[in-house]
């Protein structure tokens, strides 16, 4: 097997505050193979988003954060890279999509101008016409009907779904090997979200991009991901192929998470026992269920 795109081993994160040290991640291990779509699922505050920020390298710059463990990207230890080397990776080799596509675009610039900006990251000297050609091709790929019009528009003139497609196209503009999608489209309505996710899946498959998909929505995860990690209170409690996880969840927390999905057939929102003692038990590693070579 070739080098995984992303390899995380025993990652710890803590924040130093006035009242003391708060541990956020208690040793996370995960990997994403080349071209693989991996989901990270968990409830609010479980550590999904901070993991993403650590990979991008934004959180390390904040004061009072302590990071420990191995973060390896394309075989290179990220913590050993210099600031400028990490900087060079951002927006070129790895990129990110956020929850709210409309607020992720600056309202005072046209979509075209922002595309130009993004493309300049990998090709600093790219001219306007060239950038627009490339942007048109990219927008074509995410099935935007009239790319020229969209490029000349401001983000607030486009619908949320349109902006989401623009974001996807932008995120893939520099052919990154890793795309981090932090709850993409949560701000959109369900039908548009489904459409854009399907589109995103097609596009990343075509480009062979690895994806770390962060979500609390198991339904979406089931449609999108090859493999799922379940995170709870800063620990990875279960890891499995998507089908296996949904057919046969092993960990009590995963089982509770599955039961928490509201059914359309009625019966109300299911009762879920509050975090039980068993949630904190480490996963009993079945064959090929735990992270291979992981801490637990």
């Amino acid at each position: 097997m070739s080098e995984p795109t992303l390899l995380i081993r025993d990652l710890h994160l803590s924040f130093r505050t006035y009242t003391g040290i708060i541990d956020v991640l208690h040793g996370i291990s995960l990997h994403i193979a080349k071209g693989e779509r991996v989901a990270l699922v968990g409830e609010s505050g479980s550590g999904k988003s901070v993991t993403a920020r650590l990979i991008i390298g934004l959180l390390q710059m904040a004061r009072g954060t302590r990071v420990d463990g191995l973060l390896q990207f394309e075989g290179r230890d990220l913590e050993k890279l210099s600031q400028s080397e990490r900087h060079a990776l951002r927006g070129t080799r790895m990129s990110m999509i956020f929850q709210d596509p409309t607020s992720s675009l600056n309202p005072v610039y046209t979509v075209g101008a922002q595309f130009h900006e993004v493309l300049r990251r990998s090709a600093p000297g790219i001219g306007k016409t060239q950038a627009m050609e490339r942007a048109t091709a990219l927008l074509d790929e995410v099935l935007i009907p009239d790319p020229a019009r969209v490029l000349a528009s401001y983000p607030f003139q486009l619908s949320g779904g349109m902006n989401q497609r623009v974001m996807i196209a932008m995120a893939l503009a520099n052919e990154p090997s890793l795309l981090i999608a932090d709850e993409p489209g949560t701000a959109l309505d369900v039908t548009v979200q489904a459409q854009t996710l399907k589109l995103m899946r097609d596009v990343v498959t075509r480009h062979g991009t690895s994806v770390l998909f962060i979500s609390h929505n198991l339904g979406v995860v089931r449609e999108f991901a090859d493999r799922v990690y379940v995170i709870y209170k800063g620990r990875l409690v279960e890891q499995a192929r998507t089908d296996d996880l949904f057919d046969n969840p092993q960990h009590p927390y995963t089982q509770a998470l599955m039961r928490a999905i509201p059914r359309i057939t009625g019966g109300g929102i299911p009762d879920i026992e509050e975090a039980s003692e068993r949630f904190h038990e480490p996963l009993i590693v079945h064959e090929s269920c735990g992270e291979p070579g992981g801490a637990r």
């Binding site: 004061r63 060079a88 005072v108």
Partner: protein, 277 residues
Amino acid sequence: MTRTLAILLRNPLSALGVLLITLVVLAAVFADVIAPFPDHRGAVVDFANFNKAPGWPYLFGTDLVGRDLFSRILYAYRISLFLGVVVLAVAVPVGVTIGLAAGYLGGWTESILMRVTDVFLSIPPLVLAMSIMGLLEPTLFNGMLAVTAMWWPWYTRLVYNLARGEREEGYVLAAEVIGSSRLHIMFREILPNCVPAILTKMTLDLGFVILIASSLSFLGLGVQPPTPDLGSMVAEGAKYLPDSWWLTVFPGLAILVAVFGFNLLGDALREILGVDE
């Protein structure tokens, strides 16, 4: 641009503002052409016609040494506007840069920059300008310096608050993620979103700068005679009220027209650009 002008002219109040400002600016720019006695802006004495009531050829009357008040007001506008523009041209970039840095960078930078700004804000503006003028020689340059020193903190405050809000926007995070530099994010991402508010404040302030500069020279701390200045003209004439009323009323009205005009225009801009107070 044409569209903005059309919207401005639709509302009677803002149309009045545009009209007043246009008149003031034209008066200042073409003072040499309009003024019936251009040389009266300097140290000219004409005792044959001193202290004349308004009439022909002295539209606004003459002062105590026989100079045409109308001509002097036109030249005084020139100086007032020049002062206003220069003060804002210096105060706005300084204030905006400090506000952006404090608002976006946060942490210690924010604490230090904003506390320094607060010190400036804690001194009543006119008192600050007066003390600076008291220490320095009363010249036009020092006058601009004093007014600038009291003016920039207000822009820092304004932009700081806006930048604090913008910092939380998704596009700032997105820019950080694609590896944009801090300077780029401050000036190319956040600043353009603050421009409407800054522009509105500048228009409103142009009137107030003229007012403050006039206040300074009213107190004898501004531009010195024989250079015509609205504030010192009012101060000079106030001694001869109510008999020689024109000495005070016309320069006073001139100040009013300029300040009122810029205020109307500023309010109209605020509405058009959708800036909140």
